[in-house]
């Protein structure tokens, strides 16, 4: 599988839920510390290089992207200036972004689109809050403020339209229901900052968290005193964790140790794959919903890799 070179440092990569060959990549200049950002939309071709379909520049780094589940051309970006921007690929570049939602007072760090009800999305920010937005409104519907430190990620439950989880630097992960005034559950999941969380796609009560303590923990929210599994093997903080859309116990993760790992949390030797193709921090990983075993990753080495599990990402 070919790779794609971005001018800026990669931050996040996501497969389109509509087209199996399409991906969106969020990048930031100067490691996201200072400078501009760019969102790339790229298409894989069966033979040949990855083609860029569109690219959108922003005045500040882009930390995350999420595809809309209701429109195949709609893309949502978390921008470091605190705004959430909506891009429509079907419109000319001059009319993009179609919307810029500026309510967060600090960097927006993640966005996630509701895959069940398909009309809303979440943004999480360093201002300690999570905001719920709907496609048809110019302002957020409500704000979730309970975390005591940056909220690094928020993820919808893939089976419940109203339930989501958030991971924060205050060392807790929280479960929320948009109909409840406060969080419904607090998981003191790690001793260090929690950088990412994701729900199992096949068991709606299972959640994975990844932390600065180099571990990934899998929890059952019905019994959250002890983790279901603790996955050790990364050498540095684990930046993102992602459950497979195809296999119930398969988890992908990427870390500051520059590797992308695959885990099966149900088996004894849970580490089933390690890819060290990145030469800088690996900060973005995703698994295709449409093609089983297809992985994508990006990192600070300004490269996007797309490969089939079991093959060498660097193989031409």
């Amino acid at each position: 599988m070919p790779m794609f070179k971005t001018p800026f440092n990669g931050y996040s990569v996501k497969f389109s839920p509509f087209y199996e060959q399409r991906l969106a990549v969020a990048t930031s200049q100067n490691f996201g510390i200072l400078g501009n950002g760019r969102i790339h939309v790229i298409d894989l071709s069966p033979a040949g290089p990855i083609a860029e379909i569109a690219a959108y520049d922003t005045a500040d780094g882009v930390y995350d992207v999420s595809w809309s589940e209701s429109h195949d051309s709609l893309l949502i970006a978390a921008v470091a200036d605190g705004s959430v921007k909506l891009y429509d690929l079907s419109l000319p570049p001059t009319s993009n972004p179609v919307r810029s939602l500026a309510e967060h007072t600090r960097e927006t760090h993640s966005v996630d689109y509701n895959a069940v009800r398909r009309d809303s999305f979440l943004s999480s920010s360093w201002d300690d809050t999570i905001k719920l937005w709907t496609i048809d409104r110019p302002t957020s519907v409500r704000t979730f403020k309970e975390h005591a430190y940056c909220v690094y990620s928020a993820a919808w439950n893939p089976r419940h339209a109203d339930v989501f989880a958030s991971a924060s630097g205050d060392c807790t992960a929280r479960i929320w229901d948009v109909r409840e005034p406060g969080s419904t559950m607090i998981l003191p999941a790690h001793e260090f900052e929690i950088l990412s969380c994701d729900w199992s796609k096949y068991d709606d009560a299972v959640i994975a968290t990844s932390s600065v303590d180099k571990s990934i923990k899998v929890w059952d929210v019905r019994n959250y005193r002890i983790p279901v599994a603790v996955l050790n093997g990364h050498g540095y903080a684990v930046r993102k964790v992602k459950f497979s859309p195809h296999r119930a116990s398969l988890i992908a993760s990427c870390s500051y140790d520059m590797t992308v790992c695959l885990w099966d949390y149900m088996v004894e030797d849970s580490l089933i794959g390690r890819y060290d193709h990145h030469t800088e921090f690996a900060v973005g990983v995703d698994m295709s919903v449409l093609v089983e075993g297809l992985l994508a990753s990006t990192g600070w080495d300004e490269l996007v890799y797309v490969w089939q599990h079991g093959t060498d990402p660097r193989a031409p």
Binding site: D127, D162, C171
Partner: protein, 290 residues
Amino acid sequence: MANNNSQQSGSSPPPKPWERAGSSSGPAPFKPSAPGSTSDVVEASGTARPGEIVPPNDASTINTNSLGRPVPSRPWVQQNTYGSTYGGYGASLNYNSGYAAGTGAYGSYGGYGASGSYNTGLYGNSMYGGGYGGLYGGGGGMYGGGGMYNNSFGNPMGGYGMGMGGPGGPYGGDQDPNNPFGAPSSPPGFWISLMRVMHGVVTFFGRVAVLIDQNTQAFHMFMSALLQLFDRSGMLYGELARFVFRLLGFRSKRNKIRPSGPNEPQNYIEPPKGAPTGSWDGVWGNNTHN
């Protein structure tokens, strides 16, 4: 992999793999999903608060840190109690613009910003406390530049303005900075831009700090690599300099030492220089001989 599975725009994506499978392990502890759109559901639950903007350091934020464990401090947030009280200054455009205008007024306000609370409240919390405090205390403290700062960004950093607000009532009488007639309304371009730069600096260090936060070990690795590089480069320059000197015809120290042979002769020369050291040198030797 062409666009063979392309969907109509606006339609729903292909069904998710997990939608074909049932939920595997018993009932989940969640209320069943409500019908209707997300905004309707949230509004029906009475929790909707459209467009709410949460200022940082918001006192109303429920701190439910159930861990009893201190959370890391943020370099960009001031840990003071003024933030919420005086945050409103930023919103009041008049107040601040009046304040920012006119250089004549600055002198008379010299004292306010210099108050200790300005520095400590603003930046004292973070590990960058020293650096920031100095930086801003000097510039902003002079005339409570915080107000202007707020104005230019209209932003969450409400606490910036408190340097001058703290004492209360210093603006009475003739020196009211809001008085539009009191000062020439020149555009505060320089200071605004300076404050913007300051804002950039704060953002910069905030992001660097979060990155370090997220990965202490990697930062350690980076720093040690950097130090190693400096170390190496020092050696490199030494070698380079020696080479250049040799080319120029200078003889380096190493060449001078070589003709004189090993270091033993120097040791032989040493004892006669100082009798006391010589006598001490003999102490153990004598003992062993005795």
